[in-house]
Amino acid sequence: MLQLTCPYCGVTGEETEFAPGGEAHIERHGPGSDDGDFEEYLFYRKNPRGLHFERWRHAYGCGKWFHVARDTVTLEVYGSYPADVLTPPKEIMAKAKKRGAA
């Protein structure tokens, strides 16, 4: 059971307190987009060995969605950041890089 920290309310809680929301930083493709982009947006998800950006919701807490950078092998959490941050913060990337994950 993972331990995650919500960047909004600051609570570090059990995985059961949160709800997973799949891969983060997926760009929405709406009307007018080409079939390939739309297919990618709807169906294609990364399954990396190592650094993974994912969405979580503090479902049994403040209710906020946020992003987590997590290692799929070691389960190390490199950090969490708000859902409206569109690119992973530098310090998180640096941490992952130090581990050889990014």
Binding site: Q3, E14, E15, R28, L75
Partner: protein, 1008 residues
């Protein structure tokens, strides 16, 4: 013959006799006994039958690893099956029963399996893949019932468990698993440095093996005294907590551990407590488990682990036998010969496959005058329900038995193949192992991989014998270091490294592995060399699996069932994989171990469930008028987490009659429905209209304040997933109704888009579902009823269809929506939840003259189906788009974007040949189609071509005929066509495709 020794027994209190029942017989033991030790004391050697061959079995071990002595304790609702007798503490009035035998433990008919097996190998490795195959029908009616009857564990109680269980969350700096020497020392080192420590021990006492040995001194004190003093010192530390009878069941991600505490049968609190622990550092000091040896008939009751024999003598003062033979490949086991000799028992011989036995322990035994036979093996054990003698032969350099066998009379064999560190917890969550060639054991290899915390740092340490340090001095030093390391990792300062403890102990050296004891004649092939006692897996089975190509240890395990019994291979795995490696001519580390998975020992279902049982298993949601419904004949139906009345039954009325009465009342005069469960989302903010234009397929921004609009919600895939009426409360505020079951989903959905995609929009969403009671007043008399309760103008001019108004009714604040899901003149009246019952009563009272009739969900469904209104989950299944349901009018063509719009452009969704909604009128109007039935083009075709399916089907009381809705390929283009619906039993129902609106197609009723 009395088996209780005259003295000794560190754990028992001879002044406190305890009486208990075993298989209906009254027996006595002492306080401090386990069920196992008490039974030995009472002279009971036979404790069960094996699974496959039903061979008689006795105790092998004295601890958690016991594979044979599984018993059902307690009776009736308090029965607990499959309890290891070694772990059950004796208490007054305890009842215990043996399992897996019929008709009796002593005389078991299942033992015929063994007799059959001796002539034909029907139960060999993978027998269930090879036998019982033909004829097929026999499996269901003959083989399986017979196998289930004869093989198996204790029956689960059928009555509800009267005990309570609880979950307990705990956060600690350091969790120390194991209350033996290493655990105590590690906890003390970490605790002294200031860490918050939780120490758990699976048995009821601290000290581990120190309690059973008398030849080891630490810092000048007897081992047991050192343990007591250390435990006392720990008890005095405020930052250290100790829990005995607590099993560390599993270690998981980020330092999460599950512990199962046995709170005792007589405790006033819960029966068991499941600890859900989050620890910054974990120290696994779980000790080691002694290995059995594989020799012929090594399963005869009386053949036990050497350490277990020693434990029974020294801890509980009972003698597993009067005349012992020790069979061991290591010096440590000679301690058992010493313990037996000191207790006044006869030691017939020590049989040692090694060429020499010259260690100090061996010399002590030799000094007692006990014959030591080196370069020797037990070629076989003689005896059925008890050991009678062993046949001892000389082991040749080629590994065979040479020369004549010597018969040595004995009634107990203490065996030892060395020790295996308990690496289970370490391995549960990523810890790797390495093969220690010198000590021939797998031990933790943190340099390969260790369990890690959320910060990526290794968070688990192993200490003592569990870490592969088998001497007291080394194990103790390792444990102290582990405790200090854990403290250091937490940023604490454990101070200067203390001087090593002074340890005096006899030299034990290392075991010389012998994975298979050679034998003679029919025993030479290992068909009676048992590895897994509980599952009856022999050395020959493993060898056969290897020969048949099951080379991977994981495959061999599943093929032979080695290590798959409730003891999970604690005794058998190492011997099994060594034999597999030998058969494959591969080194042991190359074969590797099977995966260690939690729980370490079986976790009772009650512990896992905790409080989530009975009413708390899945708590139900209740509308504000729930109690009234319950008192007035409600026939309940689950709707999401809610309970809603399916109908209200009066007197002897059946469901059908009640539903018919309710529909006719609503259509004919007036009905009322508790609609409180409908989801109600308040969406507010400057961008609320813009946001809802994205959420709904239709345009919501054009809705006027004070008006309502039916809206559809799709997923990004274009599939319809929720619907409901949206009311515009103000320019910047909407109230969105959702389905009863979908409210939480829709709320989460809206939040997700607002927070993760359109976070620039200024909108708040609040789920107000439970804040309002909502009552639908339906039928031609509805207007006059509500008009009599309010000063509000509810005329069709002031409150037209799809409008709403706020005001007061029956003295309470209300919002009246003029909306209809029945096709009748209808109002839905919302009021704050606490006024719900008052308003319900007032409406009933006011409607008495009009025979206002409360109706349930079935009448609601029938009335909406009569009108051709869709229901999410009936007409939709997650692949249905609005266009399939002829709801094109609710899908905006003007909006540039909404969720699902892009998907609808895809060729499959735009395909004109999709299943579309139609009505079905059966040729026989009395015949109601089965829900979900398939429609086919030609019922005689094989296979038939499916052209659609029935989505809603009812008998309409209003129209006095069967009605149905269906999704049929190109349905609307096939109006008037008769289709076939094959049903169970070979019948075919024929129905004509018709318009899905069966009742009042012009909408005259609702628009009055």
């Amino acid at each position: 013959m009395p088996h209780r020794l005259n003295d000794g027994g560190r754990l028992i209190d001879r002044s406190k006799p305890v009486s208990y029942q075993f298989n209906g017989k009254r027996m006595t033991g002492f306080a401090g006994d386990t069920l196992a030790s008490a039974l030995i004391g009472g002279g009971q050697a036979l404790m069960g039958r094996s699974f496959k061959y039903h061979r008689p079995r006795g105790l092998v071990a004295a601890g958690v690893e016991e594979p044979n002595a599984l018993m059902t304790t307690g009776t009736g609702a308090k029965a607990e099956p499959n309890q290891r007798a070694t772990m059950v503490e004796l208490r007054e009035g305890l009842t215990a029963k043996t399992q897996n035998h019929w008709p009796s433990l002593d005389w078991d008919i299942g033992a015929v399996n063994a007799a059959v097996a001796s002539v034909a190998p029907v139960f060999s490795a993978g027998f269930y893949y090879k036998t019982f195959l033909f004829p097929r029908i026999a499996w269901k009616h003959v083989y399986e019932p017979v196998i289930r009857q004869s093989a198996g564990l204790g029956p689960a109680p059928t009555e509800q468990d009267p005990d309570s269980y609880e979950h307990y969350y705990h956060y600690t700096d350091v969790l120390v698993v194991g209350g033996g020497m290493a655990g105590l020392a590690a906890a003390k080192a970490a605790g002294a440095a200031g860490a918050k420590v939780l120490l758990v021990e699976q048995t009821g006492h601290l000290g581990g093996r120190l309690l059973a040995e008398n030849d080891t001194q630490i810092d000048g004190a007897e081992g047991a005294d050192w343990a007591a003093a250390t435990a006392e010192a720990l008890g005095a530390m405020e930052n250290v907590a100790i829990r005995t009878r607590t099993q560390a069941a599993g270690l998981y991600d980020h330092g999460y551990a599950l512990l199962d505490e046995d709170c005792g049968e007589d405790a006033s609190g819960p029966r068991r407590r499941l600890w859900r622990v989050r620890a910054k550092r974990i120290i696994v000091a779980a000790g080691a488990i002694e290995r059995p040896l594989a020799f012929a008939n090594n399963d005869v009751p009386g053949v036990m682990l050497a350490s277990a024999v020693r434990d029974y003598i020294r801890l509980w003062g009972v003698a597993p036998g009067r005349e012992l033979a020790v069979f061991a490949n290591n010096d440590d086991a000679y301690r058992t010969a010493i313990a037996a000799f000191e207790a006044g028992l006869k030691v017939a011989a020590v049989i040692d496959p090694r060429a020499q036995a010259t260690g100090p322990l061996a010399e002590t035994v030799r000094g007692f005058g006990v014959p030591i036979r080196t370069s020797s093996v037990i070629a076989k054990v003689k005896g059925g329900k008890a050991v009678e003698a062993v046949m001892v032969g000389t082991k040749t350099p080629e590994g065979r038995v040479g020369g004549a066998l010597e018969k040595i009379k004995c009634d107990c064999v203490a065996m030892s193949g060395g020790w295996s560190p308990v690496v289970h917890l370490w391995s549960h969550c990523g810890g790797k192992l390495r093969w220690d060639e010198e000590q021939s054991m797998f031990r933790p290899a943190p340099e390969r991989a260790a369990p890690t915390g959320d910060d990526g740092e290794a968070n688990t340490l192993v200490a003592g014998t569990a870490n592969g340090f088998m001497s007291t001095a080394e194990a103790l030093a390792d444990a102290v270091e582990a405790g200090r390391e854990a403290a250091k990792a937490l940023g604490l300062k454990p101070g200067r490294k203390p001087a090593a403890a002074r340890v005096a102990e006899p030299e034990t050296g290392v075991a010389t592995p012998m994975w298979f004891a050679p034998s003679v004649g029919k025993y030479a092939h290992g068909t009676k060399h048992f590895l897994d006692y509980q599952n009856d897996v022999t050395a020959a089975d493993v060898e056969l699996a290897a020969r048949e190509g099951y080379e991977s240890v994981e495959h061999a395990k599943r093929y032979t069932t080695l290590g798959m019994a409730t003891d999970q291979g604690k005794l058998s795995n190492i011997n099994g994989l060594a034999i597999l490696a030998n058969s494959l001519n591969a080194p042991i580390p190359e074969v590797g171990t099977t995966t260690f998975r939690p729980p370490y020992t079986p976790l009772p279902i009650g512990s896992i469930v905790g409080r989530d049982a009975g009413e708390l298993f899945k708590p139900i949601r209740k509308s504000p008028m729930h109690d009234w419904h319950d008192a007035n004949g409600a026939d309940w139906e689950p709707v999401g987490d809610w309970r809603r009345p399916f109908c209200y039954r009066r007197g002897e009325e059946d469901r059908h009659a009640a539903v018919t009465r309710e529909v006719l009342a609503a259509r004919g005069s007036a009905g009322m429905l508790d609609a409180s469960t409908l989801g109600k989302m308040i969406v507010k903010g400057p961008d609320a209209a813009r946001f809802l234009d994205m959420m709904y397929t239709n345009m919501m921004s054009s809705l006027k304040v004070g008006r309502c609009r039916y809206g559809l919600m799709c997923t990004e895939n274009g599939f319809l997933f929720d619907d409901g009426v949206v009311a515009r409360i103000a320019e910047d505020e909407f109230l969105c109704h959702t389905t009863s079951g979908g409210a939480d989903r829709v709320h989460a959905w809206m939040e997700e888009w607002l927070q993760t995609e359109w976070f620039d929009m200024k909108v708040y969403v609040a789920n107000a579902t439970e804040q309002f009671a909502q009552i639908a007043v339906v039928g031609p008399k509805s207007r006059e009823i509500i008009a009599s309760l309010t000063d509000m103008d509810v005329s069709t001019e002031a409150l037209p269809f799809m409008a709403f108004a706020d005001g007061e009714m029956a003295g309470v604040p209300v919002r009246i929506y003029r909306i209809s899901f029945s096709g009748e003149l209808s109002y839905e009246i919302a009021t704050p939840a606490h006024h719900g019952q008052h308003l319900w009563d007032a409406i009933r009272e006011a409607g008495k003259g009009a025979n206002i009739t409360p109706y349930g969900t079935e009448a609601l469904h029938i009335m909406r189906a009569e009108k051709g209104f869709i229901m999410i989950g009936d007409e939709t299944d997650g692949t249905t788009i609005p266009q399939d349901l002829n709801l094109n009018w609710a899908v905006s063509k003007k909006k540039a974007d909404f969720i699902g719009k892009r998907a609808m452009e895809r060729s499959h969704l735009a395909d004109p040949n999709r299943e579309k909604l139609v009505g079905l009128a059966t040729d026989d109007p009395k015949k109601v189609l089965p829900d979900g039935a398939y429609a086919v083009a030609d019922p005689t075709a094989s296979p038939p071509v499916v052209i659609g399916r029935v989505t809603s089907t009812y008998f309409s009381p209003t129209l006095d005929k069967s009605i149905a809705m269906a999704l049929i390929v190109n349905g609307p283009d096939r109006m008037g066509e008769t289709i076939a619906i094959p049903v169970e039993g070979g019948d075919v129902i024929r129905a004509k495709i018709v318009d899905p609106v069966f009742y009042d197609p012009e909408g005259e009723k609702q628009n009055v």
